[in-house]
């Protein structure tokens, strides 16, 4: 129970960090997405079921607090947790570089799902402008923050196993 509380606390703290402190470092309104990095790391370390569940919780937290469309982030993170958790079956879990590299495809999938939903809801998205001004700055921040987030998840994972 304590372990679950610890994971929940980390989730809430990182989300608060993402929506407060990290917003001071933003490019065109886009800042780092720690929930995405957290989901990818958990998925790599704990498999697709836990990854999807963690993504679900992270997305739910985001949708419940700052989300524009309830369920959008939940669906996206859950999908990403599921996909990247599938990879963990055939990979070594302590490869720290993997989540760093994976942060880019994870971001691509997240943006793809979001854009697809927005398109289905009748929004017009300028994809070229989006890729040029929004995607790459966010991707750079994701790569920079991927390693520390993964180290944090790794430590929590070890702690969970010991308990």
């Amino acid at each position: 129970m304590r372990i679950i509380g610890l994971w929940a606390m980390v989730l809430v703290l990182l989300y608060a960090l993402q929506t407060s402190l990290l917003t001071f470092i933003n490019f065109d309104g886009f800042s780092a997405n720690l929930m995405l990095l957290l989901t990818v790391s958990v998925a790599f370390l704990r498999g697709h079921e836990k990854g999807a569940f963690f993504g679900f919780m992270a997305g739910l937290l985001q949708d419940a607090t700052t989300g524009s469309y309830f369920g959008l982030a939940t669906f996206s993170y859950m999908t990403i947790g599921l996909i990247f958790g599938k990879f963990s079956v055939n990979l070594f879990r302590d490869q720290s570089l993997l989540p760093v590299i994976s942060s880019i495809p994870a971001l691509v999938i997240h943006f793809a799902i979001t854009i697809a939903f927005l398109f289905l809801l009748g929004w017009q998205i300028d994809l070229i402008r989006f890729l040029k001004f929004d995607f790459w700055p966010t991707a750079i921040m994701q790569v920079v923050l991927a390693y520390p987030v993964h180290r944090l998840v790794l430590s929590l994972n070890e702690l969970s196993k010991r308990r």
Binding site: A16, T19, F70, F75, V89, N90, L91, R93, L121
Partner: protein, 342 residues
């Protein structure tokens, strides 16, 4: 930490549960977007949970931003300070140049004023470009020479008074022996009408800044504060140029003569622009001034002249009218035939 490869085999129930969840969330998005799905209570609870942490992180963020802004501002101020220092140095240099120009402008204006006032002289303005000053010699070099019409023994003046005379004129420069040079001697007289005592002003090697007016008879009417002007004797210096004023009077050793110590009107230490008198003639007569009027009966001479002119014009007009009337009467009586008539 283990490097074991994970082996997971999803069961059918789990897959079904996952699919159900995915479809539910997918539908949620569309329902929420169309306002058919409301999660106000959940949102409130989640916000309440996250808000304290957000506040704490936001405070930290604002502090960091403040520090970053302060550092940026300090850096900016340092840069600005550097630029302002450079600007101050530049402006100081410009100010110095401007002051120099202003000073030169003032001197030239004064000289021009003198040139316009002294209509009896043809003046050539010159700048002092060299100076030799010792107790035995006081000579300056000016930037005008024979090419400008300057010749030997021409008087050199400023608007304040006599400077000296040209002792050696070159092609484009000239040496001027100053009034205070011990070798210089200028024929002068006391300007005061009651006095008009003549004497010679010579440079004094013992007191280079104050020349002496010598050869003054002991019983002559010379007082301290008397103005000394050139007498015109000798032909080098035109008459009436101000030399200076008597500030002290001493008896000569022989006992028959006395000499006056003169404070020159020109400050020879600040001599920068001078004028060479290349030609001189008699001064034109002063314009006639109206005589003094009895108090209480003053009239304006210009107004009187205008009135007089108007009266003369009226008389002329009246005469013309009388002539015209007479002409008309003669025509009517038939004594005069109209021009062009039969």
């Amino acid at each position: 930490m283990s490097n074991k490869v994970r082996k997971e085999k999803p069961t059918g129930k789990k897959i079904i549960a996952l699919i159900v969840v995915f479809i539910s969330v997918f539908c949620c998005v569309f329902f929420a977007a169309r306002g058919k799905f409301n999660t106000t209570a959940t949102n409130g609870a989640a916000m309440m949970l996250v808000a304290p942490f957000q506040r704490a992180f936001s405070w930290a963020g604002s502090q960091l931003t403040f520090i970053k802004d302060s550092v940026t501002e300090i850096s900016h101020l340092h840069e600005q300070n550097k630029k302002l220092r450079e600007e101050v140095e530049l402006l100081r240099a410009q100010n110095l140049t401007a002051s120099e120009y202003a000073s030169e402008n003032q001197r030239l204006r004064n000289l021009l004023g003198y040139k316009q006032a002294a209509v009896q002289f043809d003046l050539v303005a010159a700048s002092v470009i060299g100076r030799e000053s010792a107790s035995w010699s006081s000579v300056i070099v000016i930037n005008r020479g024979t090419i400008d019409g300057v010749a030997n023994n021409m008087a050199v003046v400023t608007e304040l008074g006599l400077v000296g005379h040209v002792m050696e004129a070159g092609v484009n420069s000239a040496k001027v022996q100053l009034l205070i040079d011990p070798r210089s001697s200028v024929g002068t007289l006391i300007q005061r009408p009651e006095s008009r005592v003549a004497g010679i002003v010579e440079g004094d090697s013992k007191n280079p800044s104050h020349p002496k007016m010598v050869n003054i008879p002991k019983d002559s009417d010379v007082k301290v504060e008397d103005m000394v002007v050139t007498s015109g004797f000798g032909g080098v210096y035109p008459k009436g140029l101000v030399v200076g004023k008597i500030i002290d009077i001493h008896n000569e050793e022989g006992g028959l003569l006395q000499y006056g110590v003169i404070e020159t009107s020109v400050d020879f230490q600040k001599l920068e622009d001078v004028a060479v008198i290349v030609a001189s003639r008699e001064a034109p007569p002063e314009p006639i001034q109206p005589p003094p009027q009895t108090p209480g009966t003053e009239t304006d001479p210009h107004e009187t002249a205008e009135k007089l002119q108007q009266a003369q014009q009226q008389i002329l007009d009246a005469q013309q009218q009388v002539q015209d009337a007479q002409q008309q009467q003669l025509q009517e009586a038939g004594y005069v035939v109209e021009e062009g008539g039969q």
